[in-house]
Symmetry: C2
Subunit: 258 residues, 2 copies
């Protein structure tokens, strides 16, 4: 319904979407704020199901909401209860999760894909998605124990850019390497030390960048099966870089090559 008021029951259901289990069951997630809304309206990868808006923002939201999309109105106070932000932005989009599968991918050259092996911090995952979108990377594979990409923290850190990235979930190492072989992708493992210098990375038009867990890095299996391992040359005292920083440097270098 357009402009109906939000029921108490529905509020409960929305708040339960803060829990991963409930998101999984309902196959949907919450995205807060106008940035996310704009991205969701533009991209269509994760379709909008309904919008929740407070009184103060209903006119602005009604203006952009497509015909037929339910818009539910509530008080500022109610919205704060549904929101996970310290200062809620007045609108929350309910969007559909969607499962992409490797079999459907049609590859155009050049193409870069990220494979994230057990990334555990939502801020890191969100920042990686934002950076991927910046460099035009449309596909990100996630291993089975990555943090849930549809948590509000990930979406916030992605600055809404999650809506422009196809997320492939629970992708095993085996599947990645089989995909890479079939579709002729080069696989590049990012490791903190001992790899080839990122600055001397040769060209290839199809690349899969492999990045691992914040402390533990890539699993042994993935590291050894990759076509090459690269490290970021440093001059200083730090032992490692943040994984989102490492991802961005690889994406920058590779997007300059092709």
């Amino acid at each position: 319904m357009r402009g109906a008021s939000l029921s108490k029951n529905h509020e409960q259901w929305l708040r339960a979407l803060h829990r991963k289990k409930h998101r999984r069951e309902e196959k949907c997630f919450l995205a807060e704020g106008f940035n996310s809304l704009g991205a969701a309206l533009e991209s269509h990868l994760y379709p909008l199901r309904e919008l929740i808006v407070d009184d103060g923002h209903k006119d602005a939201v009604m203006e952009v909401a497509p015909r037929g999309l339910p818009v539910l109105i509530c008080s500022n106070k109610t919205l704060s209860r549904i929101s996970t932000e310290e200062t809620p932005q007045g609108v929350i989009a309910v969007c559909s999760e969607r499962a992409f599968s490797l079999g459907e991918i049609e590859v155009s050259a050049p193409c870069t894909i990220l494979y994230l092996d057990r990334i555990s911090d939502p801020g890191n995952l969100g920042t990686i998605l934002r950076t991927a979108a910046w460099f035009g990377v449309r596909r990100v594979f996630l291993s089975s124990s990555c943090v849930d990409p549809f948590s509000t923290k990930v979406i916030r850190s992605s600055a809404g850019m999650i809506f422009f990235v196809e997320l492939y979930r629970s992708v095993s190492g085996d599947e990645v390497f089989r995909f890479a072989e079939e579709k002729k992708f080069r696989t590049i493992a990012a490791i903190p030390f001992g790899g080839d210098s990122l600055r001397r990375l040769g060209r290839a038009s199809r690349n899969i960048i492999l990045l691992g867990h914040e402390r533990e890095g890539l699993s042994e299996e993935i590291r050894t099966r990759a076509d090459l391992a690269v490290s970021i040359p440093g001059a200083g005292t730090a032992e490692s870089l943040n994984v989102a920083v490492a991802a961005s440097l690889l994406l920058y270098e590779i997007s300059g090559e092709i």
Copy 2:
């Protein structure tokens, strides 16, 4: 005292150090975990004042603690109350804040400095410090309304690398440009769009990279006074990059130039 037990009063004093105001008054801050301790022991930029350790880690800490440094012992439960970590790591270092001033800087060429204009997120600041340390950048200037660099969130995000970076606080735009002129630094403003491509940044051995607030960017004054403005070429849909990602790309490009 070495190996004395922690008093209730002292616990109160330590917990008050979570507040910026108290840190400022006492001129010290808390750094948690063995990474930070190792960095603090190695660097000496922010001298250790005392260590707080729980029963389970006292032997490990006594082994590395310099003679004369007070080590206070407490229960695991007490340490959890002082800690801001979800899973405290058994040791907390109390370190001295130190005020570095621009007048003392002796510049060796090549040299890169960061100037951070109103960076507000502690995770971003910490990640920038960690990346700076990786690329051998030893000096970071902070504008007056940057987030407090000695909050535990910043220190955690820096992975202890804050101990290798001289922090110059409340540095105004005027001071930066006067310093740059005197010491013959090139000033480079990072802007989301419309600057020269980062990939075509010419060489200079002395650079100051200017980075601004997460949403608002650099102040007008700083942007217009900089020698040049650069943007990171992107192919995608994102409107901007995370500021710590932008910082890392500039540092990577500049450290390859010199």
